[in-house]
Symmetry: C2
Subunit: 685 residues, 2 copies
């Protein structure tokens, strides 16, 4: 039959699909394990090195500073110095604001910008990451710990729990890294993070209404509804006025409503502190303006970088001169001088509270990790160097463990600060060291200056930072590109805004995983046709020019065949064949004799899948159709062989390409009857 | 460049990969929905039919009896009659035994073989399924309800809960069918069911030790440990004798142990009722013998089918004559005459108990469904007719709802009974009607005959039936074919035997789903090479003859690109390129210029995947490498286009086949320098 095939398939007769060589179970097992947990092959640089060097490179692996410090030059230091000072000027106000957001003493924000950056500078593998606290994690700590312990009533215990949570977060992060489980972070998809961040930013902004409006009483829960309630129902007299107004029955419905809303608003304005509102709005406008300017022209990045510190200084001066703190403008007040006191003793491992600390630690840890690694990866990509996810996790973990022992709370690589760092032209992690030193100096000498800093300006700083996180363009992009991802994003957003941060996460991750499972459960099976004047067979729905071959039905399965889809595929394929036969009958064409399954896209198969193929074979035999397989992967071949299904199908009916399969089938169809085809095959192979 | 390609690719220049035509969102959405929930297209037979006919075929769809009853002939009835009587002779003793297993009044077993079969005969689409109760579900009911209510102390409430659970099971099954969620059952993989069934069978056999040994006190929990305890620690004097024996210090270690074990056994034999043991063993031997015989020669199926009834009759006679019930042989005792009383009033929906009933109903419902549908499918396959999974679910559901209102408990299509039915040559569901009538006659007139039936013979019947369910060959097969599936199977088995039925299920399903997620999270990326004298490119690890092309690196990704694997793939691919470049350097060969990604097996992609490709493109550009895509699916093309990544990569760098991609790349490599290649491309396309 070689001749016939010459025309139809390639230069030679059909290639055999070989059985993969028998490998001992343990080898494959080890290989799979390596591929699963060491995909980045971290030890490749140690290979073909001997004794002493091995130790050195091992040390360098865990402490990258040993790699770059020796090559460090004054030229590099100059750029790092500038970058370091710039991020410090951003770090100080942000640190204080986020600490307030977490209901922790403001000075903790400064502590957290001193020790952790030093740790990261030694262990981190990113050159652009600037270490610090982040708004979302701070908010999470506040909301999760706040459920158990009130920061207002029992600040001591609350502080302890915050340290403990940080400690657990660090341990968890380091463990993930050491156990090579970095890929767990990947399950927070891009869409999830977009929606989640936007939701968190919204919630954080809502929280700032307290500071902006100078409200005394505020809800501890973060969802939209309760925040709105506590903004618009400060006192009862308002409600009363509302009711009184509605006693007048003569007013007509519409104007009644309009009037009432108007009155209500006025009443509330009286509840709010106009000083704070004015002050806040001014600085918010100033900050947004600077952000806008430096967006317009990246060379002016320093404007927006310096803006927060500037506004803090201005606001403090203003308050100091006008004594505004006596007119209802709340200020930070006394900040303790001196660097981080040790906090090892105040870790709380006693039963009733350890669980909440553990839970908070793990959730905040994962969130912080996700942001930090995402940031690190993206900047590494700009400068085209690799970042080892697992190594980063260990660095983050150590950073937080050490932090929790030195009165710091959860830190990671915030996007805003790292972006400023990158724009300021940092060269190495040394910029973090510079920032740490600057913060240290502040802690030692400058804390009194923050006494008069009004909270409202901190709120303004937070809001302006948060507005940058609401990336509606990304959401629109998601809608255009992938509807399901948009649902994931929306789910995360709504979950966070109307439920809680955890709910948002759970919703998003669940949808994402369901989508994956659904893809597996409902794989696409498409009919293939021949692209004219070529040996190529492609999906007819994608390539309208593709033509079907009379008497031959070619199906393409583009998903692994698993228990979850085996029975679906069984029915789907037989239905496809039915449809095809009906179509042929109506057209009065030659009816089917061969069914070719293109397994090129079937990456993996399990026993359910194998038995599906077995059933299909039996079924087709009963219908007088010949099952032909094209381009099965080695795993499939192995399992077909092991399960003896291969004998059932016949090795001669398995081809390297669809083209060769079609070639042989055509040969059979044309030269002789179905009856003695098997005979020919035995000679053929 | 056409000439150069002529040699390299096919007859023509490279084919363009077209962009799929723009389809309105709603259309695609509807199509996906249809494919997900109506893959079997249940309404196809209604198409191109008008008014009245439509109604008829709609009725026929829900009541298949309307389809086959009109064509029913006496010839068919003869075979159905034989089959029906055969399964009845099996159904009566089995029904009683399983009812005992569920701690329910034995007569319920007979009730459950009367009404449900009639319902199924009308609604079921299988010709071979014989309806009845199953051991596993019975055991589940006993163990799950037993936790809340003791059947011994409060039989009335226990009975009510059993009916309620059955009702909920029915509602749940019907709902699954109506909501087209049949595929949920598919998540119980073949491996899961093998391990689960074996485990359940083991547990059921263990439970029978009570009957076989004639023990009075027995544990309610089903796990191995507690059963062994309650078998081997009936009384304390045994322990004492044991201790006493061990006071003698002079006896040597070995003989001490031997002696002790011997003595212990003797002591226990005295605790056990030797009459039951002897009787049970004899009948068990008899039943296993008949099973063996009819396995040897399928023509004698009736031997094993009739064996249970025979042994019941024999045993009852024996007991009646020897008055053995007075010598510690427990008998069924009084069975109420008459057919099913209504039980609608005894459904229990009050708060404290509804939850347990609901939980029991849903779990047992799913298990029963899985077994019934699997059985129906396999027999349908032998006779080559289709079974509609969702329609079957509705039938099972209705059957159990009606059953729960007529004092029946959970029924499905047991394998043993259906196999007998099939061997007995049943033709239609009429055999179920015959069985039902036979059982009805029994209920009306023959119940007194079962007064003297010893429980031990029922235990023997159950054990002999269960031993058939322990399919160790299947487990061995799993080990050979797919190690992970073997783990799933083992997990299910151990979970059921040492934990509980639910634990076993959860373990197995979790492992199965983790396996799927792991496949997605760690897709295989393999290097492709050219098969000599052909246009075919295949994995070099699978086809050792495949040769790499100098200057070109071809990677094949065989999984959808999702958030779960995007960052892994990003690193994996760049690492693959590094390795390749290192290898080339050592060999001193021409270094890379093109990286071809074969996307033929990438069935689906999400936004994370798209941005991964975008990053990859940027990364390669920085390294002076050209990214080339081969054979992307229409979904990928659409999303690449929508996300503007397509422009970044350049449509001219996307080819229909790897061969054509290689062709163009070679052309570039050979004819001119990299520099002006872009220019050529603009002309080319």
């Amino acid at each position: 039959m070689g001749n016939a095939d010459l025309a139809l398939t390639d230069m030679e007769g059909p290639h055999r699909v070989p059985l993969p060589p028998e490998r001992p179970f343990l080898d494959t097992f080890r290989a799979n394990l390596k591929e699963t947990f060491f995909p980045d092959d971290p030890f490749r640089q140690f290979k073909n090195e001997r004794g002493s060097r091995k130790v050195v490179s091992a040390l360098q692996y865990f402490l990258p500073i040993l790699e770059w410090a020796p090559k460090y030059s004054f030229g590099l230091f100059k750029s790092d110095l500038i970058a370091g000072i710039t991020i410090a000027s951003l770090a100080i106000p942000q640190g204080i604001s986020y600490a307030k957001l977490a209901n922790l003493p403001p000075v903790l924000g400064l502590y957290s910008s001193f020790v952790p950056p030093l740790v990261y500078a030694m262990m981190g593998s990113s050159k652009d990451l600037a270490v610090g606290t982040v708004a979302v994690a701070s908010l999470l700590i506040a909301s999760m710990l706040g459920k158990e312990v009130s920061a207002a009533e029992n600040p001591g215990l609350y502080l302890k729990l915050a340290f403990t949570a940080t400690f657990f977060a660090g341990v968890f992060e380091a463990a993930l890294g050491l156990l090579r489980l970095g890929f767990i972070v990947d399950f927070l998809s891009h869409a999830t993070i977009v929606g989640f961040m936007a939701g968190a930013a919204t919630v954080v902004c809502l929280q700032q209404l307290k500071g902006m409006l100078g409200l005394q009483h505020f809800t501890t829960s973060t969802d939209l509804v309760s925040v709105m309630e506590s903004v618009f129902t400060q006192t009862h007299q308002v409600k009363e006025g509302f009711c009184v107004f509605f006693q007048k029955q003569e007013t007509r419905q519409t104007e009644k409503i309009m009037l009432s809303t108007f009155i209500v608003l006025c009443l509330y304005m009286l509840q709010w502190r106009w000083e704070s509102v004015v002050l806040g709005s001014c600085f918010l406008f100033f900050l947004l303006l600077t952000r806008y300017l430096s967006k317009r022209n990246p060379k002016f990045f320093w404007i927006s970088a310096a803006a927060p510190l500037t506004s803090v200084v201005l606001a403090s001066l203003l308050v100091y001169l006008t004594r505004a703190e006596n007119h209802g403008v709340q200020v930070i007040g006394y900040l303790k001088k001196g660097i981080n006191p040790p906090s090892a003793t105040s870790l709380e491992f006693s039963p009733p509270y350890i669980m909440i600390a553990l839970k908070t630690g793990i959730i905040t840890g994962v969130i912080a990790l996700a942001e930090g690694i995402a940031v690190g990866r993206s900047f590494a990509m700009y400068k085209n160097y690799q970042i080892d996810g697992n190594k980063e996790m260990i660095a983050f973990g150590m950073m937080n463990i050490v932090g929790s022992l030195t009165s710091c709370y959860l830190t990671t690589g915030p996007f805003s600060r790292s972006a400023v760092n990158y724009n300021a032209g940092c060269k190495t992690a040394m910029s973090n060291v510079v920032m740490a030193i600057a913060v240290m100096i502040t802690l030692l000498f400058l804390t009194p200056l923050f006494h008069y800093t009004p909270l409202v300006v901190l709120s303004a700083i937070i809001i302006s930072a948060m507005l940058g996180l609401i990336d509606y363009e990304a959401a629109i992009h998601l809608w255009h590109v992938d509807k399901i991802d948009f649902c994931v994003c929306l789910g995360a957003y709504l979950g966070v805004v109307f439920g809680s941060v955890e709910i948002g996460l759970v919703v998003a991750v669940t949808i994402s995983i369901l989508r994956v499972l659904l893809f597996i459960a409902r794989p696409r099976t498409t009919v293939l046709g021949n692209i004219p004047n070529s040996m190529v067979y492609r999906r007819v729905d994608q390539y309208p020019i593709a033509q079907s071959i009379p008497g031959i039905f070619i199906l393409h399965i583009d998903a692994p065949i698993y228990f979850a889809n085996a029975s679906y595929l069984r029915e789907r394929i037989s239905r496809g064949i039915d449809d095809e036969e009906d179509a042929l009958k109506t057209k009065g064409r030659t009816n089917l004799q061969y069914v070719i399954l293109d397994l090129g896209a079937v990456g993996s198969i399990d026993t359910s899948g194998i038995s599906m193929l077995e059933d299909l074979k039996k079924n087709l035999d009963r219908r007088g159709l010949q099952l032909v397989l094209a381009n099965p992967g080695s795993e499939i071949m192995k399992k077909l062989d092991k399960s003896k299904v291969l004998e059932g199908i016949g090795h001669e009916w398995i081809f390297l390409t669809v083209a060769e399969a079609v070639g042989s089938c055509n040969f059979m169809l044309h030269t002789q009857k179905q009856a003695d085809s098997n005979g020919t095959h035995d000679n053929m192979v």
